[in-house]
Structure formats: structure tokens, C-alpha cells
């Protein structure tokens, strides 16, 4: 190695070190834009769970039923119970009768018993007032007045509530929307369209029937139905169903679902996967 080669080596090493340092130091520093979003997701989910679920449960039934029934303010409390119990009977009979978690509904079981009897004949009010030990006099008076109107009110409300809540009749539409939002937010990260993204499979809307355990884990997820299947994406339908099921099972213990809305609520629901929302 003569002098020329030594200087050559020196120059080469110096050049490489300079280039390396140039690239490693902040010349290629383009960080800030990528660091802005992570914190937001975390706070959102907890807020939505606690605040929106609790207040609306109590308010909704009371509001919607009191005005329709009419004058009797005290009877308002007993009537809602009746109506809710009347609603479930057409679709899902099991969940409602036994496990109602609300503490103030000691009077509930009694109205329910009466209902079967009340159905055939339009005379439920008198019976109910007898059963209630508290206000036996007042219901009597009002009951006679209300008789015919009251039945109408029941039927009207029935139809309104069933459209929004297929399985969980106790829970208002808002709560269902909130729960659906909660589930969607947690399932979304696990929902991976993979190679199907952007294909005609995106127009398949998959509805799954989800049954949860109390701890938020998924007990079963079965395909309820699929919409938007046509000739061009028929071959994807099975794949989309599997994909949706996998998303739910993978994120399985869902957190933050309000425990007081479990029975008759998110215990057994139908959940819609619209790929365009999840993408």
C-alpha cells in the first residue's frame, strides 16, 4: 500500500462518514405529522360508554308513556312497566320476565302476571289497581276513565319501539345506537378486509347475531343475513361473513359495555357490518 492508496483510503472513509452523519442527523427528519393522532381514540370510548347510556334509559320510557296515558301522574310509573312487558311477548319471551335488574321495580312482576289476562279483555286497569297496595284508590278512579284510551296507547307504542329494537325491547334507540357505536369502535381495529378492500365485496352488508357473556366476551356469533349480494360479488359473501365473525371474535372481550344494559340489552343483539363504515 503506497502513499496514494493511503490517502485514497482516508478520503473514502472520510466521505462515507460524512455522508452517513449527514443522513443520520436531522436532515431526513420528517416526524411531526405522523405523531398527532394516537391519544384521541382512548378517551373517546370511555366517555361514550358511561354518559350516554345511563341517563337515557330512565328518561325515555317515562317521557314517552306519561303524556299518552293522560291525567294520572302517579299511575305513570306502573303503566310503563306494563307496556314494556307487553311488547316483548310477540318476539323474544325469555329474557324479559325474570332478570330485570332495576331496584325500584318490585311492582313489576305483578303487572306481568296480569297481562296475559289483560290481553284478551280490555279491563286491565281495575285488576292492576287492586294488586298495587300503595295507591289502590287513585288508580280506581282514573282507571275507569282511562280504560279505552289506554289500550290504544299501548298498541301505538308497541309498533314504534319494535322497529328500533329487535331483541332488546327494554332499551331505548339511543342506547342501542350507543352500544352499537361502542361495539363498532372496538371491533373496527380487528376488522381487516385484506385483499377484498376496494372490490365489489365492499357492497355486501353482513348482519351477525352476537350473543355476549356478562364480561363482554362473545359467546356466539352467527350469520343472521347478508344484503347487497349480487352476481358480481357472490363469491365473496362467505368470505365477508367469515371476516366479520373473525373480527368480533378476535376483539372478543369487549370493554366498556354498560353492565346494567346487559340483560335484554347487549346480551343478544344483531350487529351490522357495513364495509364502507369499517374501512
Amino acid at each position: 500500500m503506497d502513499r496514494t492508496e493511503k490517502t485514497g483510503l482516508g478520503v473514502a472513509i472520510a466521505g462515507h462518514v460524512a455522508l452517513f452523519a449527514l443522513l443520520s442527523f436531522s436532515l431526513m427528519w420528517r416526524q411531526p405529522p405522523s405523531f398527532s393522532h394516537p391519544p384521541m381514540d382512548v378517551t373517546l370510548s370511555t366517555e361514550a360508554a358511561m354518559e350516554s347510556a345511563a341517563p337515557k334509559i330512565t328518561q325515555q320510557p317515562a317521557e314517552s308513556q306519561a303524556p299518552e296515558v293522560g291525567p294520572p301522574a302517579e299511575a305513570a310509573q306502573s303503566t310503563p312497566v306494563k307496556m314494556t312487558s307487553a311488547e316483548p311477548q310477540p318476539a323474544p319471551p325469555k329474557p324479559k320476565p325474570a332478570p330485570q335488574p332495576k331496584p325500584a321495580e318490585v311492582s313489576k312482576p305483578q303487572p306481568e302476571k296480569k297481562q296475559p289476562a289483560a290481553k284478551p279483555e280490555p279491563k286491565p286497569q281495575p285488576k292492576k289497581s287492586k294488586g298495587d297496595s300503595k295507591a289502590s284508590d287513585q288508580p280506581h278512579e282514573r282507571g275507569s276513565r282511562l280504560g279505552p284510551n289506554f289500550l290504544k296507547g299501548i298498541t301505538a307504542e308497541k309498533s314504534a319501539s319494535t322497529t328500533q329494537a329487535p331483541r332488546a325491547s327494554k332499551i331505548g334507540a339511543q342506547d342501542i345506537a350507543n352500544i352499537a357505536g361502542l361495539i363498532k369502535r372496538q371491533v373496527q381495529p380487528c376488522y381487516d378486509l385484506g385483499a377484498l378492500a376496494g372490490t365489489s365485496a365492499m357492497s355486501i352488508v353482513t348482519v351477525l347475531r352476537l350473543q355476549f357473556r356478562r364480561d363482554g366476551s362473545v359467546a356466539s356469533a352467527t350469520l343472521s343475513r347478508q344484503d347487497g349480494v349480487n352476481g358480481s360479488n357472490q363469491q365473496y359473501s362467505q368470505q365477508m361473513a367469515d371476516l366479520s365473525r373473525r373480527a368480533v371474535l378476535r376483539c372478543s372481550p369487549l370493554k366498556g359495555l354498560p353492565p346494567d344494559l346487559y340483560k335484554g340489552g347487549w346480551e343478544d343483539i344483531e350487529f351490522t357490518f357495513r364495509p364502507s363504515d369499517f374501512g
Binding site: G8, H16, F20, L23, S24, F25, S26, W29
Partner: protein
């Protein structure tokens, strides 16, 4: 400006890419970096050597054709470290050896002179182009070595997909970027090496042609001298 070594994988910082790579990829990267340093050191030294040789040869030839007395010129340039001077010295030595005796075999002397000088030219060119084969090797092999590092790194990141059960781009992306960095270094080493190899072999060819012309000219001079001497 922030003068800290940037070790975040989300940037193109070479040190971050290096530190987060698999060890096989690291070895490949180090090897390619050394190859690149070696290549550039050869490029620098060869460039200077070639330029100097060209200039000195030009000057030597000019002096040679102007020289009145070849013996005096030989004394002056006996120890010059130059290819043309060595060719000249070899010719003069052969000439002296062949014409030492009384009877001179002219045809044999001419042939020996040509052979000796031709051999000296060849050996000088060999010496000059010694390092060119390194450039050729680096130029042809470095991309493959880099590719090996990339393939290995991508395999590695695929196993990481399997481990983390996630195919999202954020899990795969950094690993693939590190792997591709190996190919980038390979090309970084290979491209200058190939360019320099072509340039320098062209330069060496020119010098070889020049030496041959000089040897032929000197041979012609000696040959004429041989005729006169007889």
C-alpha cells in the same frame, strides 16, 4: 435543527435502519459498507495514479525523442519509477547483452528485443491494473449481496407478521424498509464501482497502447542501430 442521532424507524436515518435490522442483515450491511469504502479508496488512488502516469509518460517520451545520447538518457532514467522507463531500461539491457560479443546475431537480437520489451509492457500493465479486478468484483457482486440481505430481512419480517398475528402495514413496514436498505447499500457500492471500472480499464488500455507504441519506436531505433553497428 436537532443534532441528535435519529433512531426512529419512521425516518430514513441510516443508523435507525441499521440498528433495527436482523443480525444477518447487519452483517451484510457492514460488509457492503466496507466494500464501498474500499471501492472509493481504490477509485481515488487509481484516479491519481492514472493521471500521474499519463503525464509522466508523456514527458518521458518527449525527453526520449529529444535525447541526443541514449546511454546518457539511460543513466538519467535508470531508476525512474515509470512503466515507460522500465520498458526502455529493459530494451537497453537486452541490447547491451546481445551486442557484447563480437559476432552479433541481428535477427535473434531483434527478436529478443521485441520479446523483452513486450513482456515488460505486459507486466507493467498488470501491475497498473492490479486493483481493477476489485472494482469489477464489487460492481458485479455487491447488488447480489444486498439482495441477499433484503430477502433475508423480508423473510424475517414475515415471521414477525406470523408472531404478531397482524398484517397491518405498521407491523410489516419497518422490517421491509430495513431489508430494502441492504439492497440500497449494495447498489450504493456497486454503481460507482462499475462506472469506475469502465473508466479505468479504458484509461489502462490507452496507457498500454501508448507503451506499445513507445516500445515499437524504441525497437525501431535499436534495430537501425544494429544495422549501423555491423
Amino acid at each position: 435543527m436537532n443534532f441528535v442521532f435519529n433512531t426512529n424507524a419512521a425516518t430514513l436515518s441510516p443508523i435507525a435502519l441499521f440498528l433495527q435490522a436482523d443480525w444477518v442483515v447487519k452483517i451484510v450491511m457492514i460488509g457492503l459498507l466496507l466494500a464501498s469504502i474500499w471501492t472509493w479508496s481504490i477509485i481515488f488512488s487509481f484516479w491519481r495514479k492514472l493521471g500521474r502516469t499519463r503525464k509522466a509518460t508523456e514527458k518521458f517520451e518527449r525527453d526520449f525523442y529529444r535525447a541526443e545520447d541514449i546511454d546518457a538518457f539511460h543513466r538519467l532514467h535508470k531508476d525512474t519509477d515509470l512503466a515507460a522507463a522500465r520498458v526502455f531500461t529493459a530494451g537497453v539491457a537486452e541490447w547491451r547483452q546481445s551486442t557484447r560479443n563480437r559476432t552479433v546475431d541481428r535477427a535473434g537480437t531483434r527478436e529478443r528485443l521485441a520479446t523483452t520489451m513486450g513482456a515488460t509492457v505486459a507486466s507493467e500493465i498488470d501491475r497498473l491494473s492490479d486493483r481493477l479486478n476489485v472494482l469489477a468484483t464489487v460492481g458485479s457482486v455487491a447488488p447480489f449481496v444486498g439482495l441477499f440481505g433484503t430477502v433475508w430481512g423480508i423473510m424475517h419480517s414475515f415471521t414477525q407478521i406470523a408472531q404478531s398475528q397482524s398484517t397491518s402495514l405498521t407491523t410489516v413496514g419497518p422490517g421491509i424498509a430495513e431489508a430494502l436498505f441492504a439492497t440500497a447499500i449494495g447498489l450504493f457500492a456497486a454503481i460507482p464501482a462499475v462506472i469506475a471500472y469502465n473508466r479505468f480499464s479504458h484509461g489502462v488500455n490507452k496507457i498500454e497502447a501508448r507503451l506499445n507504441r513507445f516500445a515499437d519506436g524504441f525497437h525501431a531505433t535499436l534495430s537501425r542501430q544494429l544495422e549501423g553497428a555491423a
